[in-house]
């Protein structure tokens, strides 16, 4: 069975055979995992990609035709264009004659490119467009100083995109591709800087102009949790810090959350009425929930409970999607 067929039909002996093959072939296994983890019209996308990489014989013909057409246009077009200043020709015969050879020299080597070049030749000075103005760097005001430094991980590699903020202030920045940051800070500020990054333990840095190199350590708990994506967990750690009894072995989705909600919500709220809630939210890459919106509810008092339990739930298994969930009790 081909992988393309398996994507659409996971049943039967042939599917089983491919799955067994995948146990020995990490490449195949990763590919299957990918198709499992991300929903989409995979076969049609694959076919589009195949077309894009199809042999270019036809492409060459098209290019040659475009080239020929461009050449013809130039040959026909240039005399036509030059006809316009005919009146001037008699007055300044030498100038127009000079123009001809110059343009011809430019025309010939550029045949294979787009025909847009025609427009360029008509304008006498295309150079203006090419000059880019560089915006002047805004210098810091005297009432501010700059704190600079570099964030590295435990191995000494720069951490790109770490957030560095002034604690208690509004200033913040992000480290560049070298792990460096520059943060404008109001003079006299006696606060500390706070550096943070996904999967690492946040660090407080005393405020100085030259902070130097700061090492950040991996946050062990976070790392272990980020390893598992859509394949089924292999660790049996139970989660700490959340009011749940789920172990990481089990997957978590809509039905699981509904059960979790039923177990954990405050039953004194809206005790006498049937409860019907419609929630919309987003599941992030790491299985955490965000952008929670309560669309409909018969019990507004439960709003905070819903949000609390969604935010504190175990990590969702199927990630990176929008979820519309109905809870009816």
């Amino acid at each position: 069975m081909k992988l393309k067929d398996y994507i659409e039909n996971r049943h039967g002996r042939e599917a089983n055979r491919l799955e067994r093959e995948a146990m020995n072939d990490p490449f195949l296994q990763d590919a299957i995992d990918g198709f499992d983890a991300v929903p989409g019209e995979h076969v049609s996308h694959i076919e589009k990609l195949e077309k894009r990489l199809a042999p270019r014989r036809k492409g060459w013909d098209r290019r040659i035709w475009i080239g020929v057409a461009a050449a013809l246009l130039l040959l026909v077009g240039i005399p036509l264009l030059l006809r316009q200043p005919e009146v001037k020709k008699e007055v300044n015969p030498t100038i127009s004659q000079r123009q001809l050879p110059v343009e011809k020299d430019i025309a010939i080597p550029s045949i294979p490119k787009d025909t847009v070049l025609l427009a360029d030749k008509v304008e006498p000075e295309p150079q203006e467009e090419e000059q880019k103005t560089v915006l002047p760097v805004i210098t810091a005001e005297p009432a501010e100083t700059v704190a600079e430094g570099r964030i590295l991980d435990e191995t000494g590699e720069p951490v790109i995109g770490a957030s560095v903020i002034l604690k208690g202030g509004n200033e913040g920045t992000v480290t560049d591709t070298g792990g460096r940051f520059r943060l404008a800070v109001p003079k006299g500020a006696k606060d500390t800087l706070l550096a943070s990054f996904v999967g690492m333990k946040s660090r407080e840095i005393p405020l100085k102009e030259n902070v130097g190199d700061i090492r950040m350590k991996a946050d062990d708990l976070a790392l272990n949790e980020t390893t598992v994506v859509g394949y089924g967990t292999q660790k049996k750690k139970s989660m700490t810090g959340a009011a749940v009894n789920f172990t990481e072995n089990e997957d978590f989705g809509e039905p699981e959350f509904i059960a979790y909600f039923k177990k954990n919500y405050d039953t004194t709220l809206c005790a006498d009425e049937p409860i019907s809630i419609q929630i919309e939210f987003h599941v992030n890459d790491n299985g955490r929930v965000s952008n929670i919106r309560i669309k409909k509810t018969t019990c507004p008092a439960l709003d905070t409970e819903v949000k609390r339990l969604l935010l504190g739930s175990p990590r969702w298994s199927r990630t990176n999607r929008k979820v519309l969930l109905n809870i009816d009790l």
Binding site: N16, R17, G34, V38, R52, L53, G199
Partner: protein, 190 residues
């Protein structure tokens, strides 16, 4: 036009050899085309987004084409796997800014032990296998039996048992590991 049909009939190994000898783009093009589903799936796994994965398939195409000239590639399949995977992991580090720890295949055991389930066994192996199958949890045993004895696919097993897909995979994997440890233990005793 005849060439087109012939190319599609060549095996992957033949295409690789021909490309190494004659360096005609058609050979490489056809070879890579055959690998598009694999590369795309892999990129989907690591990048998580369809457009990113599609871009990556094209980028890997360029990268592989260039690298083929530099290295003498023996096993295209495994080599392409590492090129594609490294490409996606690098992309992840730049874009997603998350430390991605890849542990998946650390626990994937050698299939060797599992030929036991397929091939003829000595009576010792048979007894050990029977005993150890019994030692598994219900879910693990059912999943392993469906998969190995009845050749049911993961999706089939989901329908038959009501376990989720992730659980089926987990039961089979853990079941295999437990069987392996148990069987090796029992065979050693003699």
């Amino acid at each position: 036009m005849n060439n087109k049909n012939n190319i599609q009939q060549l095996s992957n190994e033949e295409l690789l050899d021909l490309y190494k000898k004659e360096a005609k783009p058609v050979y490489f093009g056809e070879l890579y085309r055959r690998y598009i589903p694999l590369v795309y799936g892999l990129c989907l796994k690591y990048l998580g987004e369809e457009p990113d994965a599609q871009d990556a398939v094209m980028d890997v195409y360029e990268e592989v084409q260039q690298k083929m000239h530099r290295y003498d590639v023996r096993n295209f399949h495994t080599w392409l796997y590492s090129v594609a995977k490294n490409h996606c992991l690098q992309r992840l580090r730049k874009d997603k800014q998350a430390l991605f720890v890849n542990i998946d295949h650390a626990d994937m055991e050698n299939e060797d032990v599992f030929t036991l389930l397929d091939k003829a066994k000595t009576s010792e192996e048979e007894t050990a296998l029977a005993y150890c199958l019994d030692e598994l949890t219900v879910e693990q045993r059912r999943s392993v039996e469906f998969f190995y004895y009845e050749n049911k696919s993961y999706a089939d097993i989901v329908s038959l048992t009501g376990y989720t897909l992730a659980k089926v995979k987990s039961y089979i994997q853990n079941g295999k590991r437990n069987l392996k440890n148990c069987i090796l233990g029992r065979l050693k005793k003699d």
